[in-house]
């Protein structure tokens, strides 16, 4: 059985650990229900990845938390404040990596980062220095060599990394990223993952990101939430999710020149029997536990078939 709502997990966090707390979030436009009772919480320094098919409500959820979108119902708390009433001081503690792609096109890379950093200076505290050093940050996202280029001269991946740097310049306590790695090459992607890990570990920045890349989710996430049809359909670490889905392991082997495939829930037992039965003739044995992709497909498909059944009724 899936942990449909990890309410226990949420409640076990102590209050000052919780950076984000969402209870029964509702969002609808007329008859169109986009979010239906979403509950989630994010701890200090935790990386939470939001997965789900297009139209599942990921961006809407993020925009409600960022304070850019009003909600239809439920309670939302980000850094102790309802985003609907967040003031400029609250805004200064939040980092946002937008899906935008061409603002400030004619500015210099270093000029824009420097300029945007200055907005955070009045909000610097002894515990949290604001803004971060912009040269250091450019170096961290691998854009030092391009500091004097115009923003529109950057490649897609470089532009995205600049967006990430802008999201970080205010040394945020929580960072929201909506599909940050679209258009990254594998190297840029790996570097990006290192930045994100570093942030969560060193600065205790809580991070919420959405992605369609399941490898990325597996690599980054402390916890994964899968949204489908405006509801949370799974919540847990990548391992937990894999274990709690069908829990089947795929076993392939070659027997008398023929390739065989079997899906077993208890792989160890199955292989013990298999090898005991055939003392010879078995080769190229492979055991592959369900990947996050399998889990994801299973969960989303299960949800979608439920949806269609409901619609038929």
């Amino acid at each position: 059985m899936l942990c449909i709502l990890d309410v226990e997990g949420i409640d076990s966090m102590t209050k000052d650990q919780k950076v984000v707390e969402v209870k029964n979030l509702q969002m609808s436009y007329g008859d169109n229900v986009v979010l239906d009772g979403v509950n989630l919480a994010i701890r200090k320094g935790e990386i939470l990845v939001l997965l789900g098919p297009n139209g599942a409500g990921k961006t809407t959820t993020i925009e409600v938390l960022e304070g850019f979108r009003g909600r239809s119902g439920g309670s939302v708390n980000v850094l102790g404040v309802d985003p609907d009433e967040g003031n400029e001081e609250w805004r200064s503690r939040i980092g946002v990596v937008l899906q935008s792609w061409r603002d400030h096109a004619k500015w210099n890379v270093s000029t824009i980062l420097n300029h945007l950093g200055k907005y955070y200076l009045p909000y610097s505290t002894p515990e949290r220095k604001r803004p971060l050093d912009s040269d250091e940050l450019l170096n961290k996202v691998g854009l030092s060599a391009h500091a004097n280029k115009k923003v529109n001269e950057l490649s897609g991946g470089q532009r995205r990394r600049l967006d990430v740097a802008i999201g970080l310049i205010g040394n945020p306590e929580i960072l929201f990223l909506d599909e940050p790695t679209v258009g990254f090459d594998p190297k840029a992607r790996r570097e990006f993952h290192e930045i994100i890990h570093g942030l969560a570990d060193l600065e205790e920045t809580a991070i919420l990101l959405t992605t369609h890349d399941l490898d990325e989710a597996e690599r980054l996430a402390d916890r994964i939430i899968i949204l489908a049809g405006g509801k949370i359909v799974a919540n847990g670490s990548a391992d937990e999710l894999a274990r709690e889905t069908a829990g089947k392991t795929e076993i392939t082997w070659t027997q008398d020149g023929k390739r065989q495939v079997h899906a077993a829930s208890d792989a160890t037992n199955f292989i013990r029997k298999l090898l005991a039965q055939h003392t010879s003739g078995i080769s190229q044995l492979e055991i592959r536990s369900a990947s996050l992709e399998d889990t994801y497909m299973a969960i989303v498909q299960k949800h979608e078939s439920k949806q269609t059944r409901k619609e038929k009724k």
Binding site: F68, I94, R102, D103, K118, D178
Partner: protein
């Protein structure tokens, strides 16, 4: 307090950076070259023709200055705002502490500085082209012109901002302002004496700021004797100030509401939609 002051400083900084970028942008320069090239050609051909002993060019030039103020306030503000909304600049400002305040301060700086540049670029060559301008112009004129620019921008920019905040794309923002502006220019006695137009057209023209900006600029740069050519035979300075003020007040009452509504509406998904439309249609 300190934080508000810092927003003001950042707004000014932002305005100067954007202004520098704008003035170095080949697109701006080519656009200025074309428009002002047309203006100077018109002035060149008019310089020999005289009306009441005054060169026609000396009557047209102030009209062009007045029209340019209206165009800066209305068209440039509308397209600038629509563009910043579309490309995410405004959303970025929203995601930054006090970013919106700084953004609007920057916009004011940019419009004021570019209008000033337009005025200077129009006036300098005119000193040579337009007969009689050198003799009539004085430092006091420059001062009066300064106030006309401020009043003219106040009367037109809020309405540019409203157009810029309701249109769907930057392209339509520009088009939507260009048409009314061209119509008003045609009937406001900028290129063609308003006294020669039908009575109802004269009345219509006198409702809008373009006519009064042209008249105000003529009162500054044309010789006293030219006042006889105006509708009532005088410069009507008091009426000019009152009507421009009325438009300013109307704009300043309406515009904060419209802008606040727009700012609340702007969201990431809207920009995503704009992006997808651009990728699909190319505009």
């Amino acid at each position: 307090m300190n934080r508000q002051l810092s927003a003001l400083r950042l707004g000014l900084e932002r305005g100067f950076i954007e202004f520098k970028i704008l003035m170095r942008d080949p697109q701006t320069l080519i656009w200025m070259l074309i428009i002002f090239g047309i203006f100077f050609t018109v002035l060149w051909f008019q310089r020999g023709t005289e009306l009441n002993g005054v060169s026609l060019a000396l009557l047209t030039l102030p009209g062009l200055l007045g029209m340019q103020i209206a165009s800066s306030g209305f068209s440039d503000v509308a397209s600038g705002l629509a563009y910043d909304r579309e490309d995410g600049t405004l959303f970025r400002a929203k995601a930054t502490p006090r970013g919106m305040s700084a953004y609007f301060i920057a916009r004011v700086v940019i419009i004021f500085l570019t209008t000033l540049v337009y005025m200077i670029v129009l006036l300098l060559p005119s000193l040579i082209i337009v007969p009689g301008l050198v003799q009539t112009i004085s430092l006091g004129d420059a001062f009066t012109m300064f106030w006309l620019i401020i009043l003219g921008l106040l009367a037109t920019a809020p309405f540019g901002a409203i157009i810029g905040s309701i249109v769907k794309s930057s392209g339509s923002g520009w088009g939507l302002t260009l048409l009314p502006l061209a119509l008003l220019t045609a009937i406001s006695g900028i290129f063609y004496p308003i006294t020669a137009l039908a009575g109802w057209i004269q009345i219509t023209a006198q409702i809008f700021p373009v006519y009064w900006l042209g008249l105000g600029a003529r009162s500054i740069f044309s010789p006293e004797s030219a006042a006889a050519l105006e509708l009532t035979g005088s410069w009507r300075t008091t009426e000019t100030i009152l009507i421009l003020l009325a438009w300013s007040i109307a704009g300043l009452v309406v515009v904060p509401r419209v802008l606040r509504k727009m700012a609340r509406r702007t969201s990431g998904s809207d920009m995503q939609a704009a992006r997808e439309r651009m990728l699909k249609n190319g505009y």
